[in-house]
Assembly symmetry: C2
Homo-oligomer: 492 residues x 2
């Protein structure tokens, strides 16, 4: 009889190893189903410097086909930091259906460290915490499996590990000044991490792993991951229920109540247009220098005159500083991700304009009416969109939303006109006629959308466009007003 | 009779204005056809600081629907500069079919200014010039309309304009230190620009515009643009003819000559695998620190064992430092651009590994055999791909290409095995069987590909995979050899 078989520590170790092996086997077996069912999985690994985040991820992936997962180690580039919302790099990286994305530290570190370094104010920190909660819930409600780990080690353990790394020439570079500062301010960070986890753990819980023993942490993480996947495979993809948060809303009229008679003479139009475009051009310069992002959203009836309206706004802008984004049906790689992803990835850099020709509101119009998403999905979207837009305005963006409005007679006239004019005929499709037949259903959906998503920070404007000239001038004025206000509010 | 009508200068001015108006009208009219025919257009506007590049672009776009064009002002971020090939931001920005992209200064400025500032060596400069010529020709041959302008002003004129800008608080910031340095070193820059234009004007000519008179420059630019579009609309989308450049090639055997018998025992395999993976893990650290980009290309017969081979390579790598890119059929937005675009956009950051599971070689295999591109297209591709890969290795990348090879009998065995094993059945599709029937045609295409694209800088390796264990060990050894060499060659 060998002696070591009686050593309880060794027996325990062997049992742990066997358990890890078994869990890895299960994870490997789950893969194919995860892919077939298109489950997207996010594993966020946060924790202390030198706690072993990288090694933990290595343990988790060791039996996963590398085509099925990715690891992002969010390099916070100065470009991302300065010019985009703070969630931008994380939102861009979400996995597509059937894949697993590991974040090797992410939004938690980004919030807590910056706050402790006083690079962001308390107010900004609070906004970020709120945004994180919203972001995580939206992912979960969109069917993502989201697992959040915090890898914990004591101050002494961290000191020991950092010393060991620094003693060796090969590994010395791994310990940065930031890490040393964290070691020095361990207590401060501990409070920071705990406070953050408390605030953000209510919807998606945090799992604290003991980083002092690598294989224990690996076992616990594997167990949680395998368990979550099993549950999801059994219960099917989760679809979040709609719920309401209280956003400060602006009361909007029903479309049927809107007086569409306002019109301008050619002369009034020309004079105003010239003056306003000149002013908008000047303001674009200021916006650019003050690095204010500007997001204009265009929605409206077919043939309402969106294109012409957009052109009048775009004309005076410095072409280096704006983009027009025509939004068509989503492509396969877009459908394979949360529905706001294709808008996250199209956000303008700060100081730039982005004019969306159709927007994320497709969710509560065409996708609702054509059944491209479930009822829970589109009902949830009002709130999700309000949150998304608040994240944009919290970032500093000016967000304005236009509903370009006409009545049914005017649409018919314009359709006929298009049909009868060869140069314009391409603009009219069969789909336009089909949509026209659904006018009442659309009107109902639009009324609901306007009621529920015209927030103070990102308001809707109904632009009466039976007379296109009037509509263009009105939109220009709204943009100019908003920009003047934003420029006055902000210091250079 | 009014006096001014006799003033020849004023008459000329009025004529010029009328001409510009007429040209703009034609450009506006061309738009719809450009869109319908899916013509992609690139307008590169280079020139002196303060020559009026932005204004010129403004003149060109004033009648174009903003949904049809974009302007990029390539912000050379430190991230792009340090971590990607220099053409990367330009290649990423190419327009999709039917759209116009204006580059407000681009690859010319990027080459010339850096060379004059001695930020790049003469050798690096020469490589960039060559890459530019290749990039432009490939775009043209892929059906892009490419128009290159250089906006010229004299030293005196530049001095005058800069002074005017600097005198005004509102515009002062527009003149950077770099601009002042250019003004001071006007002669040096003149020589630099001229030399660059001479070298890069042979395939796609440069058009020098007189920047001293804004409307003259606008007229000339519009005339050229409208003329090129007219020609393209009349003659149809251009398809470049294949041609051969002399790349130093490595002689490859025909597939039929390859001896597929090599095999390893389980024991040999396990021993070697452990040793080699350990070594690869160590090397990844060095590669990461030396910022060497590593690109591994996997091609091979269906069921040859690509996936398993990739897993053995990926296993020891730091998951933060590699990506596996499975390449499926192109999506619509990818089909709407030059075929290499979807690979440009997937390049790894320097110091990272990218493992392509299928690659750009689809062009000369499946696209050739299924008729997804024209004969000229795939015949041209050998050369284009060699150029692309040389651009990658010039950037510093290690590029290795594996043909995972089996014989027909082995494939049949594996297909049958998959069919009869429930857990594996998903791996086998009808397409696999269809491809199998075309084995002889594929073999011919692959032989041609191996002969024509195994360059010294980016060689092919045939990996005998009848025995998967042997194949994995062979691939690992090749990667390790190449990395050891690359790491030894390069200073930290």
């Amino acid at each position: 009889m060998k002696k070591e078989n009686n050593d309880p520590a060794k027996q325990e170790n062997a049992a742990l190893k066997a358990e890890i092996k078994e869990l890895r086997g299960r994870l490997m077996a789950q893969q194919q189903e995860v892919r077939a069912k298109g489950l997207p999985i996010i594993v966020l690994v946060e924790g202390w410097s030198a706690a072993g985040k990288g090694s933990l991820i290595n343990e988790l992936i060791s039996e996963i086909d590398p085509r099925n997962y990715n690891v992002v180690s969010p390099v916070i580039t100065p470009e991302n930091e300065a010019r985009y919302p703070f969630l931008y790099p994380y939102a861009k990286a979400i996995p597509e259906n059937g894949k697993i994305m590991f974040y090797d530290s992410g939004w938690m570190e980004d919030c807590v460290r910056k706050y402790l370094r006083r690079e962001i104010t308390r107010d900004e920190y609070k906004k970020r915490v709120r945004a994180v909660c919203e972001f995580e819930r939206q992912l979960r409600d969109g069917g993502y499996i989201l697992l959040k780990f915090f890898l914990d080690i004591s101050q002494g353990e961290q000191r020991k590990r950092m010393s060991a790394l620094r003693e060796n020439y090969e590994t010395e570079w791994r310990v940065t000044d930031e890490d040393l500062w964290q070691q020095h301010e361990y207590k401060l960070f501990k409070e920071g991490y705990e406070a953050f986890m408390e605030k953000t753990g209510k919807i998606i819980p945090w799992h604290i792993l003991d980083g002092s023993k690598k294989s224990l942490a690996a076992r616990d993480a594997l167990k949680l991951l395998v368990g979550m996947i099993d549950k999801a495979l059994e219960q099917g993809r989760y679809v979040g229920k709609p719920f309401k948060e209280n956003f400060p809303l602006i009361k909007m009229p029903k479309l049927a109540e809107v007086d569409l008679s306002p019109a301008l003479t050619d002369e009034e139009y020309k004079k105003e247009l010239k003056k306003l475009q000149k002013r908008l051009g000047e303001l674009h310069n200021v916006v650019y220098r003050k690095k204010i992002p500007v997001i204009l959203c265009y929605e409206g009836w077919d043939a309402a005159g969106k294109g012409g309206n957009i052109r009048r706004i775009a004309r005076p802008l410095d072409p280096r500083g704006f983009d027009v984004m025509p939004i068509a049906s989503p492509e396969p790689h877009e459908l394979a991700r949360q529905y706001l992803w294709r808008f996250w990835t199209r956000l303008p850099r700060s100081g730039h304009f982005c004019i969306f020709d159709r927007t994320w509101y497709g969710r509560v119009m065409v996708e609702r009416l054509e059944g491209f998403c479930s009822e829970d999905d589109w009902k949830r979207a009002y709130n999700e969109i309000n949150e998304f837009e608040r994240q944009l305005t919290d970032w500093g963006a000016v967000v304005l939303k236009f509903w370009i409005h006409i009545d049914q007679d005017t649409q018919l006239q314009r359709f006929n006109d298009r049909q009868n004019t060869p140069e314009k005929a391409w603009k009219l499709t069969d789909e336009d006629w089909r949509n026209r037949e659904k006018w009442p259903q659309y009107e109902e959906a639009i009324d609901e959308m306007l009621q529920k998503t015209s927030t103070k920070n990102a308001p809707w404007f109904i632009i009466e466009s039976n007379d296109k000239k009037y509509a263009r001038i009105k939109a220009l004025k709204i943009v100019i007003d908003a920009l003047e206000k934003a420029c006055a509010d902000r210091m250079s």
